[in-house]
């Protein structure tokens, strides 16, 4: 039986003011980034709840990341800082569960940084590829098969 190479499923929570626009500028500038990333656009990363993050993992995501505006530059004053604290907390929960906090990350970009956005997507895809499928997804596969 031949092994199909592992293609991670990654969810990115991005802010519409920076992360999402950076994704657009990546598009305009024809900078490509891995197709593994499913983007969830939010009015502000301050909306990212720990529960949303866990939910993504529970439903089979191998990795999750949050893309927010640079610190001090949030359109909602400090939504990005709350997101950062929640990501830190969610990491601790993922460690506790055994999924691994390193499958979750927080990034900051400006609207103009299409290249940076693409680099982040590639970096996360590589990181998760190296980690392999999330233990939850692996277990799901087992129980369904």
């Amino acid at each position: 039986m031949s092994e199909t190479p592992f293609e991670p499923e990654i969810t990115a929570f991005v802010c519409q003011y920076c992360g999402d626009m950076a994704a657009d500028s990546a598009g305009w500038n024809r900078i490509s980034y891995p197709a593994n990333v499913k983007i969830v656009r939010l009015p502000c990363t301050g909306k990212v709840d720990v529960h949303h993050i866990l939910n993504a993992f529970e439903h089979g995501a191998d990795g999750v990341y949050v893309v927010a505006c640079p610190e001090g530059n949030c359109h909602h004053i400090n939504g990005n800082l709350s997101a950062k604290r929640r990501v830190t907390y969610a990491k601790s929960l993922l460690d506790e569960v055994g999924v691994g906090g390193n499958r979750l990350e927080m990034f900051h970009v400006t609207a103009a940084q299409g290249d940076e956005f693409a680099r982040i997507a590639a970096e996360m895809t590589e990181r998760i590829r190296a980690l392999g499928p999330s233990p939850v997804r692996r277990a799901m596969g087992k129980s369904s098969g």
Binding site: H51, L54, E96, P135
Partner: protein
């Protein structure tokens, strides 16, 4: 309010290990305000448990629900059927709520999801501090509104002890010395002479030391 802290997942997982269908029951009052066991936290715990059990190849029938209070029958009674439909309940209410549930649902295992820690308040976002020990005979009138029973590491009636240094308690350099606080507050109130009076040995019989405490109000009885 009652301040609690979520128990480690490992401990909770262990408690419910032999049960198929588990309800994580949040409480919408104190533990919700201190972010230990409200609706959100119950959801998180349920999600954590599902993932952890998924990984162990165990049943992931973990549901969550939250009621306004687990310390009053009128809020507990309406979820009879829900409780009947599961094999065990993890209550993220304080110890009072867990016991309320256990008393109402005699044949259902009810497990604590939080450690009930103290009576206190959030002094700033993310920082909860003890304020009262429910000693049953409040002396805040004598101590400038600062409780030595709960806030002095030795519950002194006549502090500060010799360990008070730069306003901090000898037990923990991050904790203010309760008796320094009392002194400062009495000074502001112009009542420093209170510090000169000997407070007698406290009567602890009104406290937990006297055994289970109970209050009867005839006017409220049905």
């Amino acid at each position: 309010m009652i301040i609690a802290q979520r128990k480690p997942l490992e401990e909770i997982k262990e408690m419910v290990a032999s049960y198929e269908k588990v309800l994580v029951l949040g409480c919408g009052t104190c533990v919700a305000v201190c972010f230990a066991g409200g609706e959100k936290e119950a959801k998180l715990l349920a999600s954590e448990l599902r993932m952890a059990r998924q990984m162990e190849g165990k049943s992931t029938q973990i549901i969550d629900h939250t009621i306004q209070r687990q310390c009053e029958w009128e809020f507990i009674d309406p979820i009879k059927e829900l409780v009947a439909s599961v094999d065990a309940v993890v209550s993220t209410a304080c110890g009072i709520g867990v016991q309320g549930m256990a008393e109402r649902f005699e044949d259902k295992p009810i497990f604590p999801g939080v450690n009930t820690t103290f009576l206190g308040m959030p002094v700033q976002p993310g920082e909860f501090v003890e304020r009262c020990q429910a000693c049953g005979d409040c002396i805040l009138d004598l101590t400038g509104g600062v409780c030595p029973v709960a806030r002095c590491a030795k519950s002194l009636m006549n502090g500060p002890c010799g360990g008070s240094q730069n306003g901090k308690c000898e037990v923990n350099p991050e904790t203010p010395c309760a008796w320094q606080l009392i002194y400062d507050r009495l000074a502001k109130l112009g009542q420093l002479e209170r510090m000169m009076e000997i407070m007698p040995a406290k009567n602890w019989s009104t406290s937990r030391d006297g055994g289970l405490r109970k209050i009867i109000r005839e006017d409220l009885k049905l």
